[in-house]
């Protein structure tokens, strides 16, 4: 700028020719020009402009026209704003300060939205007249926009939760409509296949450029974009990286909001479909029940007729049969009615036909009609229903149903004691209570009692029959009458059901005769009906059959079926059945599955457990038909199984067959054969010398060795060879030793199948004495290979998943995944790779040889869990790892093939790996976004020399945080530094952080020192919600003399370490921000010494859950002391690498390091070429300590060496004892190297072209070189900037 100013013809301007300029103007220009802070000087009443180099970028294409131009002309577009401010200063009203002031400037060919923090200070003459204005400016556009965009994203995030795409679009439109400065126009296009076709104009008011950005709308969990987002670009902003990132993030948010809305909509549609299905089910149910009634009527009707027919009376036997038919048709009819009622209630179609009746009279009559059943069961029955004061409005049929259901329920579950019914008036209500002394209901079942189809678990009633509908029906019927029903119960003591029914206003009531439904009564009577007596007439066979059946009709029916053939014993429940079986030793047991007390399967188990009853064949009957029952029955040891309904002939045939079989078994010789061969388990008998003398067919099936190869002497062919199968051999050996020691036992061992492969069996062995007194060994064995493999596979998968869970980044996941795969499948050649879009490998773990590469490429785009088998020269398997760009390969080596199980395992493991990889990638993407966001707020990385800063987001949860750092160049050459930590994390904390950061910076630029800055910040922060309790450390460093003035607001103490190994903690007690606004802050001074290192940090660096804070600070301190030879940036990296836990730090971290210029390096070396190498080593170390960047350091080393070489070659060519002195020091932002010798240079140089190369090199490498050569020696002085 100096040259430009000198070159300009000023005489044409009001300032006049340069030599006429006033001393004040010259002084002002001299202050302005050398400064590195952007500065502008307005001079004279026209405010003619003069500015320094640092200010040029601010002007854009206004420069150089703007030099000497009146301010009003240069800033015409903003002068309406700026003019009045300048006017005030000119009028003597003092300096102005504007914070984040918006200005629309045209300096790059378009009107640009910018923000500035600036101050106008008057330049006064001695008389106090204003001569001009100093303008100091900071461009805060980036921060202001960053904060605004953060807010937009934050508000978008809050718009989540819309329940359909239209609402979502509306919510997005509302938010984006507030941010038209960044997004003047937006359109959302949702793809039709996403479930909603929509094209929504979101906001189109503001002007926007012709060009737009189109972003795919992607959402996590969706393979394809759900649509596209068209975003108009602000004509007032260039589409730079920040802007693009912002638009990316907006698209991400919009995608998520829409995806959420679409998901929600889909969910709602599913729910509606389910409700429709439910209605259809009810309707179907109602139709079907209806259809049942016709055939039922046609069964019960003719039966009734036949019984009543006096003209052609039936014989006694036939009458009994027809009574059974009538009774059961009636029962079925009641069930159908109940179900129908229920369906009607659900559909809202059952309305009570209510009349005012004398409820007490009706209740008494119904109760009395049920009386016989209760009394026959040997229970006491008390009915107390005195007349009620008023009538009740009740549907009599429904009330009858309520009463009968409650009574039969009470009877069903009461074995002794009594049942009590009472109906009493309580206020406006009648209360019906039915209590019993029955089994009671478990407490946790009571709330479920009145739910339809719920049956109380585990209680034993007189009959387990029932649909679980009775109480639910009671509940619904009572509810229809505006009443309520409740139950209390105590297990083993009894239950009480209460119905509360409103009384009507009418005091006159009709009496109503109950309809007289006999169905309930008949059914209840059967529960305690007298046993049909087995007769022993006409028995052809002496075999005894025990029938266990709870339904009396069924019992009678079975008795009549079986009686003609065998002697029949009857039992009504499982417990009785078992007792009778033990006493009578029947030849066969025929049992129902659902018998009260002990059920059919339990009975079988009990019978089998007792050696005396174990051989009795058991035939099981069940009404529940289904495979599962069959399996359960046979597993329990039943011999045969017959589902209801069954034909009489079939039952008789089955009983006969089972009796025959049992008879066969009783013949000793065949018994064993039949038993052994009927065994599912393998069976083996060996003699005293270990020779196998008998096996069964199951054994052959399991092991492959046929009975024809017997006898087989020791060692058996299924034992493993010690050399070939050492592990299996050991396992067999161990089991054998245990067997010998214990003469039997149970083992799980491997066996060698006849075909050579390994199988696993569970063996049970025992020793028995033979008839001849010799010992025999008997083994049964079961093939458990599949179980064993499954268990091993589970273990492998669990281990694999654990290994993967510990890995965090993509490389680590692939690394551990490959290692674990090698181990799991026993292969050595394993490779995983991620490919870039052009097919080149981007990340490879393992050796990516040709075969692997081909297979990986083929596999990468397949669906996850696909296994590709390569059978080429290099056989192997490959599987994709998701994302269409990653895959894993296992080389198998020749001669090895994966078994089907191994292949499946590989598929499974690879899909686990794919999942872990997906997780890691998601994580890395999220981390990148968090970092980019934070860095966007934290601003420029252009730091003064000696400084290094780092920011590291928390790993869990991965979010932007509230930590920050700042380095501000102050106008006087000092440097302000701030490190702070806002409470909380996430966008809110980041927004608070952004405000505090720019305020702190502005205050430092303006205020008198750090304490003043903190005091002002206290006041400011008190007004920002969320800023309370922020901690920060604020300091001003003078790089020239090393003074450090600081003030702390509750922040952890910074570390100051000196070159001599001493250190200090800058710890003063202080309060966090805004805790006591208005209170003064303490300011402390510390002294930096040459080479001292200052470390500022946030607590994330030093706080660990299990380590005391002081210890954490101590560790940081020690690292700083150990790293005085590292560059600040290297030190910052080292601190993060060594102090943060290797995985999952949960707090974010900001670190700021400053290295004060070190003391000059002074070397003196003899004129010996071999000393050059060690000189370079010293020089490099010093340059690192002085924070000279790597690209500046090496040229300095070369230049210094050239100078020393010249001194040695020329100065001391004749004087090997001569010494060369090298001094290196920091000179502001430059490095100065001085090389001095006292020798005489040989002149002229014998080969100037070659010899002069060293000097040329120095000039080329350094910014400035001065060579001063005389009789007393030569001094070379060179300078170079510390950074390029």
């Amino acid at each position: 700028m100096g040259r430009l100013i000198a070159a300009k013809d000023w005489s044409a301007t009001p300032l006049g020719a340069v030599r006429r300029w006033s001393p004040e103007l010259v002084a002002a220009i001299n202050t302005c020009l050398p400064s590195r802070v952007p500065m502008l000087l307005w001079w004279g009443p026209e405010l003619l402009q003069i500015y320094n180099d640092a200010y040029v970028p601010t002007l854009g294409d206004k420069h150089p026209r703007s030099l000497g131009q009146p301010a009003a002309e240069c800033w015409a577009e903003a002068w309406a704003d700026l003019g009045p401010l300048a006017r005030k200063v000119l009028d003597g009203e003092g300096a102005t300060y504007s914070d984040n002031h918006p200005l629309l400037l045209n300096r790059h060919g378009y009107v640009e939205e910018t923000y500035w923090t600036f101050s106008y200070s008057p330049v006064l003459d001695r008389a106090g007249e204003v001569l001009g204005i100093f303008v100091a400016t900071t461009d805060t556009t980036r921060q202001v926009l960053g904060e605004r965009r953060m807010r937009a994203l934050h508000e978008l995030a809050a718009a989540r939760g819309a329940v359909d795409p239209d609402a979502a679009c509306e919510a997005i439109r509302r938010v984006l409509g507030e941010f038209t400065a960044d997004i003047p126009h937006a359109e959302i296009h949702v793809a039709a296949e996403s479930g909603a076709a929509a094209r929504v104009m979101v906001s189109g008011r503001a002007e926007w450029r012709d060009d737009v950005v189109v972003q795919p709308l992607v959402a996590s969990g969706r393979p394809a974009p759900i649509g596209a987002l068209v975003l108009g670009i602000s004509p007032r902003r260039a589409l730079d990286t920040d802007y693009r990132l912002f638009l990316d993030l907006v698209a991400g948010q919009v995608g998520q909001i829409l995806a959420h809305a679409l998901d929600y909509q889909a969910e709602r549609q599913r729910a509606e479909a389910l409700a429709r299905l439910d209605r259809a089910k009810s309707e179907f149910f109602s139709n079907v029940s209806h259809e049942f009634r016709t055939p039922l009527t046609l069964i019960a009707g003719p039966a009734e007729d036949a019984l009543a027919d006096a003209a052609e009376p039936l014989a006694a036997g036939q009458r009994e049969r027809l009574r059974i038919i009538r009774r059961n048709a009636g029962r079925l009819g009641r069930l159908v009615d109940d179900l129908l009622d229920f369906a009607r209630i659900e559909a809202g179609r059952l309305q009570p036909d209510a009349v005012d009746i004398d409820l007490a009279a009706l209740t008494r009559e119904v109760a009395e009609s049920f009386g016989p059943a209760v009394r026959r069961a040997g229970l006491e029955f008390t009915v107390s229903a005195p007349p009620l004061p008023r009538a009740a409005r009740v549907d009599p049929d429904m009330w009858e149903k309520v009463l009968l259901n409650l009574l039969s329920n009470a009877l069903k579950y009461t074995r002794s004691g009594g049942i009590e019914l009472s109906l009493l008036a309580t206020g406006d209500h009648a209360r019906l209570t039915v209590s019993d002394t029955g089994v009671g209901i478990p407490e946790d079942q009571i709330p479920l009692l009145f739910q339809s189809f719920h049956r109380v678990q585990g209680s034993s009633g007189r009959s387990p029959e029932g649909t679980g509908i009775g109480l639910a029906l009671v509940h619904e019927l009572v509810r229809l009458h505006g009443g309520s029903v409740s139950a209390t119960s105590e297990t083993g003591v009894g239950s009480e059901f209460s119905v509360l029914l409103p009384l009507s206003d009418a005091d006159r009531a009709a009496t109503h005769r109950p309809r007289g439904s006999t169905v309930y009564l008949e059914e209840a009577l059967r529960w305690s009906a007298p046993e049909p007596m087995p007769s022993s007439v006409g028995v052809k066979d002496s075999a005894v059959v025990l029938v266990v059946e709870d339904n009396a009709d069924m019992r009678g029916f079975l008795l009549r079926l079986l009686e003609p053939h065998w002697r029949v014993l009857l039992a009504a429940d499982g417990t009785t059945g078992l007792r009778m079986a033990r006493t009578h030793q029947p030849d066969l047991v025929l049992s129902d599955v659902t018998t009260p007390g002990l059920d059919g399967f339990g009975l079988v188990r009990e019978l089998r457990a007792d050696p005396a009853t174990a051989p009795i064949p058991v035939l099981v009957l069940s009404a529940r038909s289904g495979e599962i029952d069959t399996v359960e029955g046979l597993a329990a040891g039943a011999d045969d199984y017959l589902p209801k309904p069954f034909s009489s002939n079939e039952l008789v045939a089955r009983v006969r067959a089972n009796l025959e079989l049992a008879r066969l078994r009783s013949r000793e010789s065949r018994f064993r054969r039949a038993l052994v061969d009927s065994l599912q388990e393998g069976f083996l008998v060996a003699d005293g010398r270990g020779a196998v003398i008998e096996i069964n067919s199951a054994f052959t099936e399991i092991t492959g060795y046929p009975a024809s190869e017997l006898p087989t002497s020791w060692p058996h062919p299924w034992l493993f060879d010690a050399e070939e199968w050492p592990e299996e051999h050991r396992a067999q050996q161990k089991a054998f030793e245990r067997f010998l020691a214990e003469s039997g036992g149970q083992f799980r061992i491997p066996l060698r199948h006849r075909k050579g492969h390994r199988i696993w069996v569970a063996v049970s062995t025992t020793t028995v004495p033979d008839d001849g007194g010799e010992r025999l060994f008997v083994c049964t064995l079961r093939d458990v290979t599949a179980e064993k493999l499954a268990a091993e596979r589970d273990t492998t998968i669990t281990r694999f998943a654990a290994v993967l869970a510990a890995a965090t980044d993509v490389g680590e996941v692939l690394g551990s995944g490959i290692a674990a795969l090698r181990l799991a499948l026993g292969v050595s050649d394993a490779v995983a790779a991620i490919f870039s879009a052009d097919g080149a490998p981007e990340l490879v773990v393992g050796d990516l040889h040709q075969a692997a590469r081909e297979a990986l490429t083929a596999a990468k785009s397949r669906p996850v869990a696909t296994v590709l088998v390569a059978l080429s020269e290099t056989p192997g398997v490959a599987a994709p790892l998701g994302g269409n760009d990653a895959a894993v390969w296992l080389g198998l080596g020749t001669g090895r093939l994966l078994s089907a199980e191994e292949e499946a395992l590989f598929g499974l493991l690879s899909s686990h790996l794919a999942q872990a990889l997906h997780r890691a990638r998601d994580y890395e993407r999220a981390r990148e976004v968090a970092l980019t966001l934070q860095h966007a707020i934290l601003g420029p990385t252009d730091l003064p020399p000696g400084f290094a800063v780092r920011y590291e987001p928390a790993v869990q949860p991965l979010e932007v945080g509230g930590d920050w750092y700042d380095v501000a160049r102050l106008p006087d050459g000092r440097i302000g530094v701030v490190v702070g930590d806002c409470v909380g994390r996430g966008l809110e904390a980041a927004a608070v952080m952004g405000q505090l950061r720019s305020s702190a910076r502005a205050l430092l630029l303006r205020a008198n020192g750090p304490a003043q800055a903190l005091e002002d910040l206290d006041t400011f922060a008190a007004q920002i919600p969320g800023a309370l309790c922020t901690t920060l450390f604020c300091a001003v460093i003078d790089p020239a003399d090393g003074t450090l003035r600081y003030s702390n607001a509750g922040h952890p103490p910074p570390v100051l370490a000196h070159l001599d190994g001493t250190h200090e903690l800058l710890s003063e007690r202080s309060l966090p921000l805004a805790v006591m606004p208005g209170r003064s802050r303490q300011e402390t001074k510390a002294q930096l010494r040459p080479g001292s290192t200052l470390l500022l940090y946030t607590d994330g660096l030093i706080e660990r859950r299990d380590v005391p804070v002081l210890e954490g600070i101590g560790a940081a301190q020690q690292l700083v002391l150990d790293s005085t030879a590292l560059r600040p940036s290297e030190l910052a990296d080292r601190l993060l690498a060594e102090l943060l836990p290797p995985v999952g730090h949960d707090d974010d971290v900001a670190v700021l390091v400053y290295r004060h210029p070190p003391p000059p390096l002074a070397l003196e070396l003899p004129a010996l070429a071999e000393k050059l190498a060690s000189m370079r080593t010293d020089l490099r170390a010093w340059l690192a300590r002085a924070d000279v960047t790597a690209d500046a350091a090496e040229p300095i080393v070369v230049a210094a060496c050239e100078a020393v070489t010249n001194a040695m070659e020329h100065g001391y060519s004749a004087d090997p004892d001569g010494r060369v002195r090298v001094t290196v020091r920091l000179d502001g932002s430059r490095v100065e190297v001085v090389v001095t010798d006292t020798g005489r240079w040989l002149t002229p140089d014998p080969a100037p072209r070659e010899r002069g190369r060293g000097v040329r090199m120095m000039r080329a490498l350094m910014d400035d070189v001065v060579i001063d050569s005389g009789n007393n020696g030569t001094t070379v002085r060179m300078w170079r900037r510390r950074s390029t």
Binding site: A1173, V1198, M1208, M1257
Partner: protein, 96 residues
Amino acid sequence: MTAKFIGRDDGEIRTVTVVGEVDVANAGELETALTGAGARIVVELDRAEYLDSAGLRVLFTHARTRRLELVLRRGGGVEQVVTLSGLTEVAAIRYD
């Protein structure tokens, strides 16, 4: 000893690999390694850490009479020195 010079001949091509730092103290060894070479010389500097004008002098001397090819590593201090010295004008440059 701050550097290693490994020379080998393949027909008329002499290849010398330089590992480490070359300055006036050991430039003579580089000279020795190049002595007696044929018409073509390849000097592999991609593993050289440092090269100053003494080393350059040797290379320039040989570039005058032979076809000289240099192998460099991008971005290193050696590349900068070679480029600044003008050696790129008289030698063929190859990057590893």
